[in-house]
Symmetry: C2
Amino acid sequence: MATIKIAVAQHSCCGNKNENIARYVALVAEAANKGAQIIALQELHNSHYFCQTENEEHFDLAAPIPGPDSDLLNQLAQQHNIIIVGSLFEARGHGIYHNTAVIYAPSVGLCGRYRKMHIPDDPGYYEKYYFTPGDLGFTPINSPLGKLGVLICWDQWFPEAARLMALAGAEILIYPSAIGWTPGDIDDIKQQQLDAWITVLRANAISNGVYVLAPNRSGFEPDPSDQTAGIEFWGNSLIIGPQGEIISQAGTNQKTLLIADIDTRHNETIRRQWPYLRDRRIDAYAALSARYRD
Amino acid sequence: MATIKIAVAQHSCCGNKNENIARYVALVAEAANKGAQIIALQELHNSHYFCQTENEEHFDLAAPIPGPDSDLLNQLAQQHNIIIVGSLFEARGHGIYHNTAVIYAPSVGLCGRYRKMHIPDDPGYYEKYYFTPGDLGFTPINSPLGKLGVLICWDQWFPEAARLMALAGAEILIYPSAIGWTPGDIDDIKQQQLDAWITVLRANAISNGVYVLAPNRSGFEPDPSDQTAGIEFWGNSLIIGPQGEIISQAGTNQKTLLIADIDTRHNETIRRQWPYLRDRRIDAYAALSARYRD
């Protein structure tokens, strides 16, 4: 693989689906106009972050894949001749829903999907209510631009996920995200949380010698139940190189399109210098499959 | 466990063993005088970093444990009433040598040892020649101050090691280290390497909700074979909190004693907020024991 031009989109979302679609459609067109060959969209870009409350009606936001939401991504990929990494609420069967990322490529269509494996559940992030844990494992998706290790948000805190993708040949890890602050937390706490997020994303790049992309949601969304103060999605979308270097980073609030030229042959250079995959102690890792070692 | 006062020692080493011992003996005494209950010493603190060349005579630097080198650590622990995390070149049997960390505690004596599991080998770091890979696994050492996850230098790049220690109940990860720059590399490369090291250490804290200590060697040591430009050990020893926050950090060159009060009950607070151990997909991690997934 030679140099490729990548784009990472960041925007806020609202309760109006057509408006959310208009926002990322504009960013896809802009990326294509600037010569990007691939664009990564944020987590659940079609809607507000509906997991702030547990509400049965929100399951109506889901759609099958293929289905109308994924068809639009495919159409955009063909129209703009660009690979799109999208993030959808997948209706798989009656009562079976997933938080699913998809890749569509020009000519090819659907390259593959990833169903979020690690599902969070905290006040304001009730994802265990909506999303059945993924059953496709940590398997990179083959695309015309190489193997892409698509993971989703909460997965970023689990080095197991990044490692398994790298071991399976992923050259770029992509984390569509929707993460933010609790309004009212003091600035020091907010900064420490954002810093922790950036740090683990960078560490996933470093430990595995791969590029990492993290398109994250921005903007404030209120809690419809008024039980919490809502979420300030912290943006700060990232493009990270294989030694953890930050190639491009968005601000907190603005709609942003990050664009960078990367070359995954650089992974090989870095891995020759710091050859971690050579030295893993696979004879001593069995207990990673244990819940706890007490 | 309540608040504990911890110390992390950083100093340069030379070819004179007695001088090296004098340097860390002074830091142990200083730490005890300041009320520290535990001090962590850097990797292979008794000698210059002999792995810059492959030289059969260097095996003479090793000693059994217990033996004269470990006896001195034990004596210091008793004399100063302080727990010592030391790092020794262990002669285990004819032709069997390990890079071994030990913990000595007042009254208790030897609490346990850890034999370096991940062994590097790069120009100037010929550790595979000297050190048989460890066979004790990733097992925390019980000390009067709780379970301590002692790992060594290169281990820091392997999130598997940190995770296994945390799953076994380690409350603090301790990485005695000897890592540095190649003189002549440009400053940008040096900064990126140092930054990557700090980043993965912080990520090991974040992903596991544990404290991390990293005492690192400082100072320049020439290559006796003149084949390389030697090593500028980069110091920057660290004390890191369970959300990755840097509590204390040394400079690059100076002899330093970092001291901080920590409270491992804070691990519980952080893990309640970001409960990664709850959500691990232990049904999907088996391939972490694979060399590569091709």
